[in-house]
Amino acid sequence: MNLDSLLPNLGEWLRGTGPESDVVVSTRIRLARNVVNFPFTNRATHQQKSEIAAKAMEALTKAELPYPLEYLDITNLSALDRQFLVERQLISRELATVLDGPRAVAFDGQECVSIMVNEEDHLRLQVLRSGFALDEAWQDIDRVDDAIEARLGYAFHPQFGYLTACPTNVGTGLRGSVMLHLPALGITKQIDKVFRALQKINLAVRGLHGEGSRAFGDLYQISNQVTLGKSEPKILNEIREVIQTILQYERQARAALLKERKQDEQNRVARAIGTLGSATMITSEETMELLSAVRLGIHLHLLDDLPPTTVNQLFIHTQAAHLQKLMGMPLDGEERNAARAKYLKSKLRELGSTR
């Protein structure tokens, strides 16, 4: 498969049309599973990892899934292609660069489902949904899980549940995470308060690319930490309740911004558009910060005619690997900053002329 064919698509998580999409970017659920009678990936030999990958490929090809999957051997991919898949949230950074030996990913054309092979666990199943859609995502992944299990025995213990390489994932092996855009809580400096409250109830807050990553562009992922002793629906319900509360806070903060400092906000959004459309060098971080202002501007109706999907397109296309693919050549850091600025300028000009 030539990955460049994905370039024009936004992928499910950036579709921008799901429930509560003014605040919730996307919902993701992942399940950690291991194949029975094999050591975990970190202790498996090259030979064993090959066997696991072969078993996984066979199971995934034969599994009764509602959509055909594309199976890619990571070791055959260039560094650029791997980074490209990371940016599209189809694989983890670990699978792309940290781990070694035979490993793979399978995903569908809509980029809703992705299955990583030989990550920390033999299988990491993931379902992505646009907007706030925990139930739908659970139904999807539950079905995918059964379809794969019908072809492949899982390591399971009656007391401990699904057995995982790290005890922090054992039991359900489930991590539900919801990506939120919280600019107003950031502007009104309430965000730390929200996060302190979350930590007390055992939910984790992470940046865009998961564990250890910084929160750029006011994007935060909120996920469960406990995986043992609760049923999947209960875990998801606890996340849901918290997200609903945060949603309310963010919307209240947005309403307050409009009421108390509309002009300031209008100014901030206009300047963001101005910088994006006229800079000649711009980093990915600054782009994300400015796009965050534009995204808020759209939802507060401070901007006319700019659909939220445009922001999502600019967001994904200005990331390093996407940008290099669009330009059709490898670029170093400085060159990328120039190319990014050029791309943004031409895109925004194009949009301006069609308005």
Partner: protein
């Protein structure tokens, strides 16, 4: 070395023993005064360069031997090894990753308190694998059929009919997905 007190009385400790287990990661130390060292046969009455190894070991293992079984916080068995993958508990402690599914059994006694700290739970209550769900259903049906036969044999026809209907109803519902 800071001045240490004898572990048996409050005198200044002048005899310091260190037992090194596997490199120097797990060290056990004993500090005592000369009088207590003699009392425990660590220092022979006549001056010789040797310490009584047997007495030393007895002292190091002492608390486990002469006190009653210790239910509270047994020392983590760092040397515990999984018979399937060969991972030592010590390695798991250092790396944070288990080696194979059987480690959960091999290290059960030490993992349970750890799981309690991480998840505030030790027992899975979520989804069961397809294979187990199918097995449970078969076992349930088998049990019902047995009860139905027993009821019929005891000429308890009302119960038998009720069980027959229940079995039919269960058989008609779809197999677990």
């Amino acid at each position: 070395m800071p001045q240490l007190k004898c572990q048996f009385c409050d005198n200044l400790a002048t005899v310091h023993l260190t037992k090194i287990v596997k490199g120097n990661k797990a060290k056990q130390e004993v500090h005592l005064c000369e009088r207590c060292a003699r009392k425990h046969n660590l220092i022979p009455d006549q001056a010789t360069p040797h310490v009584d190894l047997k007495a030393l070991l007895g002292l190091l293992l002492g608390p486990l031997q002469h006190s009653q079984p210790q239910p509270l916080q047994p020392a983590e068995p760092l040397a515990l090894t999984c018979p399937t993958c060969g991972l030592k508990y010590e390695q798991f402690r250092a790396e944070g990753r288990l080696g194979c599914p059987d480690d959960y059994i091999a290290f059960q006694a030490t993992l349970e308190p750890l799981l309690e700290r991480i998840h505030r739970a030790q027992v899975h209550t979520g989804k069961l694998p397809l294979a187990i769900r199918r097995g449970n259903r078969e076992a349930e049906l088998k049990d019902l059929r047995k009860k139905m036969k027993a009821a019929a044999k005891a000429e308890n026809y009302e119960d038998a009919a009720r069980l027959r209907d229940l079995i039919r109803q269960k058989e008609a519902t779809d197999e677990p997905r």
